[in-house]
């Protein structure tokens, strides 16, 4: 990447990088090599039909095939050409580096191993929208099945798979929904950098993630997963071949998040523009960095949990098998040591986006930048100490429930600071009710409900009743969907002009907003009631006494579905034919609004120098 920075002008004619191999590689070659690897691995390891350890051997062959697919795809798309050329002493030339950055290649570069952070940002954006669409469709199927009692629409095996695959698809999508598109596209420009710290790793993080998508989809063709996204052992150990797809997805995804998290953190630490001291960094950058930095220690435990599930399934190691001294509690711990930080990995960037948006639309400085940073840091710090509140009723050590209740409820204090920052910023302002700002108000309500219901659930006696019920499902959808996803959609509306050069269709945006938000309240109101009345979650069938609550929920879900279809239409339509956006449609002061569209290859002709934070709005500032 040093070469990239030394090529001072992006506008000079591109010398043809000879007949270098990198010009010939793209998604298609990746897929071909990946499939060859996968098929090869499977046929090399597949068991004979009369193998006494047929299931172990089959799991081994499938896992090997899936992981080989990922490695093969990356080889085929040219992900390792840079390191390989360096190893053999023929490092990439400046021209080749420029070619890898996608200079002058138009739409083709989105299908290549492209190191330009803006290309990676768009790849993430499209990928995330596709994942949300798939996960959302599964949610619609789940709600359709739950419209009436008795579970007539969908068979129990398929229903359980739907629940699990909806869960993992959405969790993966939500982890990258803000830091993927905006963290890659917008954030480097925001801090005045020419690209990410490690552009090749940046491309790697996206393409590694991409290889997980077909792996996850293959679960459907291997019999699905019966475990939900939590994949508790020993159920996951006895599960069928579809479980291998889940395990491989997590292994691949963990690599992707580690690479992306390290890269984003390094970029923010090392590549800020001159004069951008820590207290002048835009708050979105702070929130997003804390989020990815939190993911770096969190995800390896999930990866480890999955490695052990895999070895239990392939080699009968028995980590989670009580018969040979293992324990399912071990799995639960490893899972939730990742699982609780992970919800804040999802939440922090969403809130940080709103903090970035609000000052622009009320024309006031961000209220108490320090409180915002403290809030994020407090949440990130405490979130690694609360995991066992998911295990209050697991029975592993009831005496430790008290301490975990204390740490969990302490999170309400830094969370309160986030509310204070948002409310303090709108206080005495006249909010400009564009789509991003509407999202801010929706999140205030949704996150309030999600937060208060979270306090009930953090309380041991209340959780004794509510754990594992629909109430929990409603609670975490309020935080993850109502707050984090709404924040990300607000971010999309806000940055759409910079990322696509066009304005997002406002009318469709408003229609979508109201359908989604009103439908959302109806959907989860029904679920709160059913849960408080005692309906367990993840059930294909429920008693007639929950009939109306579920019917209401399903009605709300369809409204949400319609709203998101309208949003998808708005995005596609506006991207192709929307009004051309001015350079700075919202009158914001962060650096990304100082560059034209299309953003030049290295963002800035002259490196910007920062003299104040970007919140100098308001009279007397």
């Amino acid at each position: 990447m040093t070469t990239l920075q030394s090529t001072s002008s992006h506008s000079r004619p591109i010398p043809n990088p000879a007949k270098s191999l990198i010009t010939k590689l793209h998604m298609g070659t990746g897929a071909v090599v990946g499939i060859i690897f996968a098929v090869g691995a499977y046929y090399a390891l597949r068991p004979a039909a009369d193998d006494p350890n047929f299931y172990n051997q089959q799991n081994k062959a499938l896992l090997a095939a899936m992981l080989s697919w990922s490695v093969g795809f990356l080889i085929g798309i040219g992900a390792f050409i840079g390191p390989f050329r360096w190893l053999i002493g023929k490092d990439l030339t400046a021209e080749e580096q420029l070619y890898l950055a996608g200079d002058g290649q138009g739409i083709k570069r989105y299908f290549k191993y492209c190191t330009d952070h803006k290309v990676v940002g768009i790849q993430y954006l499209v990928g995330v929208m596709a994942m949300l669409a798939v996960g959302g469709s599964m949610a619609m199927m789940i709600r359709t099945s739950l419209a009436v009692p008795g579970g007539h629409f969908i068979a129990a095996t398929i229903y359980n798979s739907l629940v699990g695959l909806h869960g993992i698809t959405m969790i993966v999508a939500m982890i990258i929904v803000a830091t993927g598109p905006f963290g890659n596209y917008i954030m480097p420009i925001m801090i005045g950098a020419r690209d990410m710290a490690f552009p090749r790793l940046n491309a790697l993080s996206w393409w590694v993630l991409f290889t997980a998508i077909p792996v996850l989809c293959s679960a459907w063709f291997l019999g699905g997963i019966p475990t939900g996204w939590t994949a508790y052992a020993p159920l996951s150990v006895q599960a069928g071949p579809g479980m291998n797809a889940f395990i491989a997805t997590i292994l691949i995804f963990a690599v992707s998040t580690a690479v992306a998290g390290m890269n984003i953190t390094a970029t923010v630490v090392a590549m800020r523009a001159k004069g951008m001291k820590w207290n002048r960094v835009p708050i979105f950058v702070i929130g997003a960095t804390m989020s990815v930095a939190l993911a770096i220690p969190a995800f390896p435990t999930f990866m480890l949990a999955m490695v052990q599930t895999a070895t239990d399934r392939v080699f009968n190691t028995g980590f989670y098998d009580a018969n040979v001294g293992g324990s399912g509690w071990l799995y639960a711990h490893l899972f939730w040591i990742m699982g609780h930080p992970e919800v804040y990995v999802i939440l922090l960037p969403g809130i940080a986006i709103l903090m970035e948006i609000t000052p622009v639309f009320v024309r006031k400085p961000l209220f108490s930048y320090n409180a915002a940073v403290l809030g994020f840091a407090g949440i990130a710090g405490l979130s690694v100490l609360v995991w066992a509140h998911h295990m209050y009723i697991s029975g592993w050590t009831p005496t430790l429930n008290g301490p975990f209740m204390v740490t969990t409820e302490m999170i309400s204090v830094p969370t309160g600071l986030l509310f204070l920052v948002l409310l303090g910023t709108v206080w005495r302002g006249k909010p400009w009710m564009k789509l991003p700002m509407l999202g801010m108000f929706a999140v205030i309500w949704n996150f309030l409900i999600g937060g208060i219901t979270g306090i009930y659930l953090s309380d041991v006696p209340a959780d004794n009743y509510l754990h594992g019920s629909m109430y929990v499902t409603a609670h975490f959808h309020y935080t993850l969907m109502g707050a984090a996803l709404t924040g990300a959609v607000a971010g999309l509306a806000y940055w759409f002009p910079k990322m696509t050069g066009r304005m997002l269709n406002e009318r469709a945006g408003y229609i979508s907003f109201w359908f989604v938000q009103i439908g959302f309240q109806i959907l989860f109101l029904g679920m709160f009631i059913a849960g408080a009345e005692g309906q367990p979650r993840r059930v294909v069938s429920f008693a007639a006494m929950y009939k109306y609550q579920n019917m209401i929920s399903t009605g709300g879900a369809y409204m949400v579905g319609i709203g998101f279809i309208v949003l998808l239409w708005a995005v596609i339509h506006s991207w192709r034919k929307g009004d051309i956006a001015p350079m700075n449609p919202w009158g914001a002061k962060t650096l990304e609004w100082t560059v034209p569209y299309p953003v030049p290859l290295e963002n800035f002709d002259e490196a910007p120098v920062i003299t104040s934070d970007p919140y100098g709005y308001g009279k007397g500032n």
Partner: protein, 271 residues
């Protein structure tokens, strides 16, 4: 709520003369936006109070044990505690929405308030106090339950609960019987020793307000005192495979006489 708002007056103060705190508070409440915020705040507080007092108790099933009663109290209590906070948050938000700017150009600049030390401090301290109340209440409740479990262990009825894919079974060892229905005598402490023969399940007698996971080769214990006659729904609260949704049974809290009759008609002996 007033202690939050009164702090805003410091940045609103445009006079050179330092007004007394009393004057500052009066000036503050003369401001139209503050008055509107207060009205909206009171409205939203009332909404959450009503939710806590009337809606929650209606949603939840009839409490049939001490634990369920305590749990319902906590739900109502926590809602009431959070009502003023939620009211303040929604009051400010609603006020801002009613004061919105329309049109296609950005609104005029607002006051350049960068921060307000006292507001941040008061906000943090107040939320800390509410957090403390919740923590102390919860811990006291946990402690009460643990003490009850210890002191009543001697007289308690022991039921061995076993989860298997996808049925519950209940063994009354002292009485020498086994059943697929959960029958319990009124007002006698009961201890559930819960285990599983295969994957994780979670034993949930809904109206008793307690729950514990069933783990293979492990025994987990919960304790409660059924104190009301009536039907119990027993469910599984941990996804345990294909027929998880159907892993449910029923039971009944009955008078001691009825319970003893049930035991003897099923071939057991009263203990």
């Amino acid at each position: 709520m007033s202690e939050h708002n009164s702090e805003h007056s410091s940045e609103h103060n445009e006079l050179d003369l330092k007004p007394t705190p009393g004057q500052r508070a009066t000036n503050l409440f003369k401001r139209k936006d503050v008055q509107r915020t207060a009205v909206f705040g009171i409205f939203w507080t009332a909404v959450f109070v009503v939710l806590g007092l009337y809606i929650y108790p209606k949603w939840m099933p009839e409490a049939m044990s001490t634990d369920m009663k305590a749990m319902e109290k906590i739900m109502v209590g926590f809602t009431l505690i959070s009502a003023p906070i939620a009211g303040l948050v929604m009051g400010i938000a609603t006020q801002a929405i009613t004061n919105r700017h329309k049109g296609n150009t950005p609104p005029p600049d607002g006051p350049a308030i960068r921060t307000n030390g006292p507001v941040v401090v008061v906000w943090s301290v107040v939320s800390g106090i509410f957090c403390l109340i919740a923590v102390v209440w919860g811990i006291m409740e946990v402690n009460t339950m643990a003490n009850a479990a210890t002191s009543e262990a001697g007289t308690a009825l022991h039921v061995q609960v076993t989860g298997s894919q996808w049925v519950w079974s209940f063994k009354y060892a002292d009485q020498g019987i086994e059943s697929d229905k959960l029958m319990l005598p009124l007002d006698r402490p009961v201890v559930f020793d819960v285990t599983s023969v295969d994957v994780n399940h979670s034993f949930w007698p809904v109206q008793l307000g307690v729950k514990v996971d069933a783990n293979r080769l492990q025994t987990t214990v919960i304790h409660t005192v059924p104190n009301k006659l009536g039907r119990i729904d027993v469910k599984c609260a941990e996804l345990c495979g294909l027929y998880h949704a159907y892993m449910e049974t029923t039971g009944e809290v009955m008078t001691t006489t009825d319970f003893n009759n049930w035991v003897t008609t099923n071939g057991g002996h009263v203990a």
